[in-house]
């Protein structure tokens, strides 16, 4: 008998188990297609109007880099949230739903290890999703609008393509960190419920409620601690000089919630009676 707890459920196995699911393939297909759809929209509808306040929209077609920032802007609020919630919320709940969870646990994959491996793979897929979109947008945007310096939305200053790329990396990195709280909540719900839809919907619902509360200005400074308050702080990387404070605060809030939610998820799962 050569059983070793540390070898159970290797990451590759879990990745393969998840990858061939239609859900995974559809999610990535949408993320890969969206930039092309947006690009086609701009090609058909013409350049956005230059009137009014300068924003990411008005300079969207200035260059491939601008188009990437715009794509990130329109998808950060909902699409990426759903993608992250999908990968992290579905992972345990769907196993419970298929009853395969109990055979994994009796294999035996120790519970903490099962969660750890599943969390790593889910976060990996979520990261791939969040990175895929801007990468494809960069390809589509460069083909359509050319490789050029990035025009910043504030005041039409141009940023050399090289430093624009590093800023883009920063933006995507922060976007990932800011989604940690969504990932952690989805994971906790995934551990708690047998319904994948409930887990994903619950996490997305949290973002919606948080956004609603964020609109209540009467809450004043308390809104800083809402999980979605800093979700757009990556736009600070598009100012003439990068503004760090928003992203630092957003990281603090997101990481703090995520750590506690994940701890609750592990504790719950350790103590849980698996009856599905």
């Amino acid at each position: 008998m050569s059983y070793q707890a540390g070898r159970t459920l290797p990451l590759r196995v879990e990745a393969v188990r998840q990858f061939r699911r239609r859900r995974t393939l559809v999610a990535f297909a949408i993320l890969l297609l969206l930039p092309w759809v947006l690009m086609a929209a701009f090609q058909v509808g013409g350049d956005p109007d230059g009137d009014g306040a300068p924003g990411l929209v008005t300079v969207a077609t200035a260059s491939g880099l601008n188009f990437t920032a715009f794509t990130l802007f329109v998808s950060a609020g909902f699409l990426l949230v759903v993608a992250v919630a999908l990968f992290c919320g579905d992972t345990v709940a769907s196993e419970a739903n298929w009853s395969s969870l109990r055979y994994l646990l009796a294999a035996p994959v120790p519970r903490a290890r099962l969660l750890r491996q599943k969390l790593i793979v889910a976060l990996g897929y979520a990261t791939a999703a969040v990175v895929t979109l801007p990468l494809m947008a960069l390809v589509a945007g460069t083909l359509a609008f050319g490789w050029d310096d990035m025009t910043l939305p504030t005041g039409g200053t141009a940023l050399p393509a090289g430093s624009a790329l590093s800023r883009m990396t920063l933006m995507v990195g922060y976007a990932l960190v800011s989604q940690l709280v969504v990932a952690a909540l989805a994971f906790l719900l995934s551990v708690t419920t047998d319904s994948p839809l409930g887990a994903v919907g619950g996490a997305v619902g949290l973002v919606i409620v948080s956004n609603i509360l964020d609109a209540v200005t009467a809450l004043g400074d308390w809104r800083q601690f809402l999980p979605s308050h800093w979700m757009y702080a990556w736009m600070d990387a598009l100012q003439p000089s990068v503004q760090w404070s928003g992203m630092a605060k957003g990281t603090a809030v997101s990481v703090s919630y995520a750590v506690v939610l994940l701890a609750v998820a592990f504790r719950r799962f350790q103590a849980k009676d698996v009856v599905s």
Binding site: P10, Y103, P108, T154, G156, P240
Partner: protein, 841 residues
């Protein structure tokens, strides 16, 4: 009794917690109200002034007693108001200073508010004498700390009109210990008639719009309002001609700090606005230079506001005022930077407000710091001055400053462009090449021009930031230049308005010279001038200015730390079950002792169950639905936690994920597969998930049992119930486990398959199954063979398959033993079972 005790404890806890919360609330409320109270006393202070000290004036004043212990001596601060205001305008700032422990006196200057007398424009004969007597008055207050008899420890601060009086008072009265003049003038004649250059204000250009607001804003029903009649008639004469008389220049100069800066000994903080076309930054620069020459400490701040508008940065300015007084009136340690410039740093994406950073440098470099010279392109151009000076270009207008505050972000945008206007034919433009790198200009750029006039020329110089097609004013301030006797052309050095502005990479700096400006009185005679540049544009830079990193609020690192600590507590205090091993049971496949499980609903699913299974047995777990069979098997797999008792497999206690479960193969309560994968992939991935080597799996034998044929490579979601059932049993047999547990294995199988399954199980237990497998080799000592547990509610099934049987009912074991024994005297197991169940009830 016990329960009641627990309840009582719980209520006690709630009561204590409630009291704590309420107490905290009250404590907080007291603390709020307990901010040091400030008592304000209204006073009417009699002063005597005039050139011959014979005019009695009553000043309306408010004295704010310092917060702090009674009897303590506090330094005093005099807060002066701006032109057109009164003591009411400084009330809020006075309260803050009093709360910080200063004795504060605010007053309405003569000619303003409820004070009597007439406005003398901060004349040394009038307003300065008034302030000196206010210092006398403060010295008599018992709360105020004295440096000597009649010499209070006192500072003066004020904006504009009030800023000038603070400088003048410090120049005339050595008792003043520190001053903070804000947005004020150095030389009123120069400020109102700029552009004369070395020839002086007599040759300057009249700043008519601001001067009009300044002098007539308070006029009321009479043309002169509350001005001294002599001042009023002087203004009217000047405004009519647009030229100052010598006498006017003399009068304005007497009212100017320029006359006294070399005598100021009080450390001075000069705060000047970047949006100020009335008293631009060069006025503060001149004050700073004069005071520094006297050897007095002086610091300079350029903030976003000013007379034109812009962000008043009230909080920052008040902090600076208090910090200066703390340092020089209270001798608090701390070094303040010699030069501070506030800059729009970006937009806070969470509040959508402009973030303003303060860049600081150790010392103030002046307006002509060393910089670079950028070549200007542009031919000689001819510009027209229209008859009557109209229409006029627009640069600065009172109140327009707010638009400039986006300046650094380049976001003045469309609105700002619409308002900044140069009339066609009236403007000469000269551009630099696109900048290879960003240039931040701090100070007054300079350029040398060759101007040909007829015979004089009046020009207004300003800088634009040109990016792409858009040209926006760098700062909406124009510097007038008067070039006289230029019929044959003259070369003049022009100093542009001082500014702090970042020109981005790729942008060009544009020098614009217009013949007219809305804010100034230009010549009415039509004329044409020729303008050419005779040098590059010299732009001063101040690389020493650095923006200190704004410290993030403490919660940004406290919150993650706290969260991590909470997370650790959550995980560490979680339920842990210790594994244990009983060597004497090493060869006993399964021993259950005192096993009890109640669900959250209170239903007692398993009640004190004990049983033992030996090697080679095929044990039937027999009982009606709901007897607790499945719950027992789930506990056996470590899926649910027993309330009491324990399960040992080969001597190892079963806990979730216990390693010994690897010797258990199970099929409980239906199959569980990933529907999108084929049967083969499911088995393959399942085995890889166990982390054990592939050659231990015996996949072929398992697949033989599954008997799926070609369907093996189809996705599981296409399978029938029976096919899934067989695949699940095959999965349970992967690795040929020593203990095989099957829950209702024949559900959904057809009769031939059921018969085959029976044979398989018997063969498996006897150890003949998988003859070549290593499982036989390490099967252990004992009776050889493996053990199979089959749960079923079908009597016939158990009777035909099993060697031993355990009968369960309502969670309890009601009988156990070899099938033959249980059947006993009864002819069939069914009869025996029914009689047992009957007893069990």
């Amino acid at each position: 009794m016990d329960l009641r005790g627990a309840l009582r404890r719980r209520w006690a806890f709630v009561a204590v917690a409630g009291t704590l919360v309420a107490g905290g609330g009250i404590g907080w409320g007291v603390a709020r109200d307990g901010d040091p109270p400030v008592r304000a006393e209204e006073h009417r202070i009699q002063v005597v002034d005039g050139p011959r000290d014979d005019q009695r004036v009553t000043l309306d004043a408010t004295f704010f007693r310092p917060a702090g212990p009674p009897g303590a001596k506090a330094p005093a601060v005099l807060l002066a108001h701006g032109f057109g205001g009164s003591k009411e305008g400084t009330r809020a700032e006075a309260r803050e200073l009093a709360q910080a422990g200063y004795a504060v006196l605010t007053w309405s200057a003569r000619g303003f508010g409820a004070s009597t007398g007439e406005i003398a424009l901060n004349s040394p004969d009038y307003e300065v004498k008034d302030v000196r007597q206010l210092v006398d008055w403060v010295a008599r207050r018992p709360e105020v700390r004295l440096d000597g008899p009649g010499d209070p420890r006192v500072g003066i601060a004020g904006e504009s009109y009030g800023g000038a009086i603070s400088l003048l008072a410090a120049g005339h009265d050595r008792r003043v210990d520190a001053i903070v003049p804000q947005i004020t003038w150095h030389d009123l004649a120069d400020a109102l008639f700029p552009g004369g250059g070395a020839a002086g204000p007599e040759h300057g250009v009249f700043k008519k719009l601001w001067a009009g607001i300044f002098f007539t804003g308070d006029s009321g029903s009479t043309a002169c309002g509350r001005f001294l009649p002599a001042l009023c008639s002087m203004y009217q004469k000047v405004a009519e001609t647009g030229r100052p008389t010598d006498e006017a220049v003399r009068t304005l100069r007497r009212s100017s700090p320029a006359a006294v800066t070399d005598r100021i000994k009080a450390p001075t903080l000069l705060i000047q606005g970047q949006s100020d076309s009335l008293f631009p930054l060069d006025q503060a620069d001149a004050n700073a230079a004069g005071i520094a020459r006297a050897g007095t400490p002086v610091s300079v701040v350029w903030f976003q506001g000013g007379h034109d508008g812009g962000d008043p940065e009230t909080g920052r300015v008040r902090d600076l005022v208090r910090g200066w007084f703390d340092r020089w009136l209270r001798d608090r340690p701390g070094s303040s930077p010699g030069f501070t410039v506030t800059r729009a740093g970006g937009i806070d994406s969470s509040t959508q407000q402009i973030v303003i950073d303060a860049a600081t440098a150790r010392s103030y470099p002046g307006l002509s710091a060393r910089g670079r010279t950028l070549p200007l392109t542009g031919q000689e151009q001819t510009v027209q001055n229209p008859a009557g000076g109209s229409p006029a270009s627009i640069s600065a207008l009172p109140g327009l400053g707010a638009l400039g505050s986006l300046g650094d972000l380049g976001g003045g945008g469309a609105a700002a462009n619409g308002l900044a206007l140069d009339m066609p034919g009236q403007a000469a433009t000269f551009d630099t090449a696109p900048l290879a790198e960003p240039v931040r200009v701090t100070g007054a750029p300079k350029v040398r021009l060759r101007v040909t006039g007829d015979p004089d020329a009046t020009l207004f110089a300003k800088l634009y930031d040109v990016g792409g097609d858009a040209a926006t004013p760098a700062r909406r301030i124009a510097a007038p230049v008067r070039v006289e006797k230029a019929a044959d052309g003259r070369t003049v050095d022009v100093s542009l308005p001082a500014l702090d502005y970042r020109f981005a990479r790729g942008h060009r700096i544009r020098l614009v010279l217009t013949t007219t400006d809305m804010g100034f009185a230009g010549p009415a005679k039509p004329a044409a001038y020729k303008i050419a540049v005779a040098s590059g544009l010299t732009v001063p830079v101040a690389p020493a200015l650095r923006i200190p990193a704004t410290p993030l609020p403490a919660w940004t690192w406290l919150m993650p730390l706290t969260a991590t600590a909470i997370a650790l507590v959550i995980v560490v205090t979680g339920r842990r079950r210790r594994t244990s091993y009983d060597a004497s049971l090493d060869d006993v496949p399964l021993e259950i002792t005192g096993l009890t499980k109640a669900y959250a609903s209170g239903h007692l699913a398993v009640d004190d169950l004990s049983l033992r299974v030996e090697r080679g047995q095929v044990l039937g777990l027999l009982g009606p639905n709901g007897a607790g069979k499945t719950t027992t098997l789930r506990m056996l797999m470590g899926l649910i936690h027993p309330d009491q008792g324990e399960i040992r497999i080969f001597g190892h206690r079963v806990t979730p994920g216990a390693a010994v479960l690897a010797r258990l193969g199970s099929f409980v309560e239906g199959p569980g597969f990933l529907p999108h994968l084929s049967g083969r992939d499911n088995l393959e991935l399942y085995w890889r998930a166990t982390g054990r080597p592939r050659d231990e799996a015996h996949t072929d034998e398992a697949l033989r049992i599954a008997d799926l044929g070609a369907a093996l490579d189809r996705p599981v979601r296409t399978y029938s119930q029976g096919m899934r059932q067989r695949l699940a049993i095959a999965q349970a047999m992967l690795g040929l486990p020593d203990l095989l547990v099957l829950d209702e294995p024949t559900n959904g199988l057809d009769p031939p398959q059921i018969r085959e399954m029976r044979a398989v199980l018997q063969r498996y237990a006897s150890g003949r199954h998988g003859e070549d497998g290593p499982a036989d080799a390490d099967g252990g000592g004992g009776g050889g063979g493996r053990t199979v547990i089959v749960s079923s509610h079908l009597l016939a099934e158990v009777e035909q398959t099993c060697t031993h049987v355990v009968v369960m009912s309502h969670g309890r074991k009601v009988a156990d033993g070899p099938v033959a024994e249980i059947v006993g005297t009864e002819r069939r197991l069914e009869d025996a079972f029914l009689s047992i169940i009957g007893e069990g009830r």
